[in-house]
Each structure stands twice: as C-alpha cells, then as structure tokens.
Assembly symmetry: C3
Homo-oligomer: 139 residues x 3
C-alpha cells in the first residue's frame, strides 16, 4: 500500500472566500503514484470547509448569502462562543453546514470525477494562515 | 489491496426524489471480494446527494419540506447562479446540506451498518440521467 | 493491509448532547497498529452525528440553538415521520446538518489533526443506548 501526505496553505484577503483547489489535489495524486485508492481532502481548521461543487461565481455568491442567512456574522454577541473573546462563532456553524472534508476515488491514477465536480476550500474566518490536508492511500 | 469501481445510473421522474440504493451497494461489495475495507459512495453530479438515514416515506417528505424551506426552488430569480440560464441554484444548496458522499466500513465482506442505516440517492434536479460512483478498497 | 474495528457505546442523560470522543479514537488508532492510513468514525444510528469542531461549551450551546432553530423538537406534530409513533423527526434532520461521519488521516501512527480539531459524538435523540463505529485501514 502506498500513502502520500501534503499540506496546502492559504491566507485569504476576505473573511469569507471560496478557492478552487482541484489543480493542487490533482498534482498531489500524480505525486502519490497511487493508481487505485482514496483521496481525503480536509480543512485542518474548524472555521473552514473543503467541499465539492460547481466553479461558478454566481453560485458562490448564493452560497455566501445562504450561509450568512443561516448564521450571520453580525451581531457577534449572538454567539456564546464569542464570549471567549473570538468573533467567529458564525464561522464554526457555516463550516458544519458546508462540511469538513471530501473523499474522492482515485481510479487509473486520476481523481474519479463527474463532469462538473471541483474541489473548493471554503474559508469563513480568513485573513490568517490556515491549512488543508491531502492524504492519499492505495496502490 | 483490492479495489472495485461501479457506476449507478438514475433518471428520476421528479425534480426532487430519494431512492434507496442499499441493495446496489451491497451487491457491489460482494462483487468486489473485499472482506475488510472502506466503501465510498458519492454523487457524481453537484445537484445530488448520497446520504444515510431511515427508509421511511414520512421522513423523506420531512426532508423535502425542510430543504425547500432552506433553499426554495421558486422564485428561480432569487439565485445568482440562475443568471447563467440554469434554474437549479436551489439544488446546489440542497445538496450541500444533505452531503455529497458517504464512507461505509466493510467488515467480514459486508456493509458494517447500524440497525436502521440505509443509503439513499438524493436528487434535487432530476428528470435527466445522472450517476453515482461506488469505490471500494481493502483486502 | 491492516484493518481494525471498534464500537463505542453511549447512553446520554439528555435528548441533545455533544461528547468529545477524541481520546477513544486515539486509543483505537494505537491499538490498530496502523502507521499510515485512514480512520472512519461514524454514528451507527440515524438520529446522531459524528463531527469535528472545537471543544468549547459556549460553541456547543450555539450548535444546539442553531439546530433547534432549523428543526425544532416541538411541536412534534410538525413532522410526518412522527406519525409512525416516533417523536424524533427533528433528530433525523439535525443529524443531516451535522453529518454522519468523519474520515481522518492517520500519519506516523497518529490522528493527523490541525491545532483545534476534536471529534464529537452528537446525540439528538438520547437517553437510549447507541453506538459509534471506528474503522481503521492502512499499514
């Protein structure tokens, strides 16, 4: 069995941002030498997500508005978590809705994707350095 | 290490539909010959889900109403994504809430399930041909 | 390839509860002997979740309030599922929002975690015996 590990680092300009990381994950699969296996991609921080959806800017604005409706950033006093001195209670909730991780099949040395699947890093409390983990196992 | 791959195809009669795909996944596990491992089942399209819950029609109607409350199909003009000519902005959001994939343990050659766990394909933009991927790795 | 399986049992005092199960999962990884691989942790019941977030009591109260806002327990007559004689329709929906499972990388014999990641059992219909499954594969 082969295994491969790689970290991706991000520092977004905005509090909330979606970044297409498919090319970096494809590159990791190539470097892994795995032909058949599974590829885990997860946020290593608890106010961020990794998810799979469409690379369409209007949809990303729809995601942002949807999440802001469910768990608004303001007023920050609405979250008990923020009594600890944080202001990111909303980001912890947004991350739960969008998910922490994706697991993607690796087939014939490639991400085994449907026609529109793209992997995104979803940042909900940005402007600081944060990480994504890629772990690939297989043969 | 063994690996096995299979696609399931669906064309639902309705825009929103839930289909129990547990028998097809069990069959794939048998065909894989894997006794101990992991089974990934994921929607290959970004307006559909694979999830695990109860096979109870009333609950499925509860899911549908819950999702329609969070991300209503109408008015389609409420979604920026629909400016691209699509009318499925809601379906992309519903899929995020319900999730893209499940990973199920394979133990002793079977899906290692609790008493009520069943795997569903969740369609949110149906009436067209779409796919689910099953990928099994193990020994 | 190695594989390891363990069940954790819970009976919570309250209907809704979050329990940090990271120590039990770490212990399972040690017992598995796996140095490089993947660790699946999933609820075996369909009114419970396994998820990764912060071990902060204020945040857990925020989660509870958020979920209660999305899918209130009362009135139980609001859920078609409850016509079956159950009163846990809300719990099935809360579980979908929080997710069924997490997949965590195992690297160098340990859970490969970011600085604040902790694994939780999320119970939404407690006061009865329920299980979590840990399945680890790798080498």
């Amino acid at each position: 069995m082969r295994s491969y590990r790689e970290e991706l680092w991000f520092q977004t300009a905005n509090r909330l941002e979606f970044i297409n990381i498919t090319p970096q994950v494809e590159s990791a699969v190539r470097k892994s030498g795995v032909r058949e296996g599974l590829c885990l991609v997860n946020a290593m921080h608890i106010t961020a997500s990794v998810f799979i959806n469409d690379d369409e800017p209007g949809l990303h604005r729809d995601f942002a508005r949807f999440l802001e409706g469910l768990a608004p950033h303001q007023p920050t006093s609405a979250y008990e978590h923020n009594k600890t001195g944080e202001d990111n209670g909303d980001a912890h909730l947004k991350r739960q809705v969008m998910g922490r991780e994706v697991v993607v099949a690796v087939t014939d040395g490639k991400l085994d994707f449907g026609p529109w699947e793209q992997i995104f890093y979803g940042e909900f409390d940005g402007r600081r350095r944060k990480r994504v983990l890629i772990k690939i196992i297989g043969e």
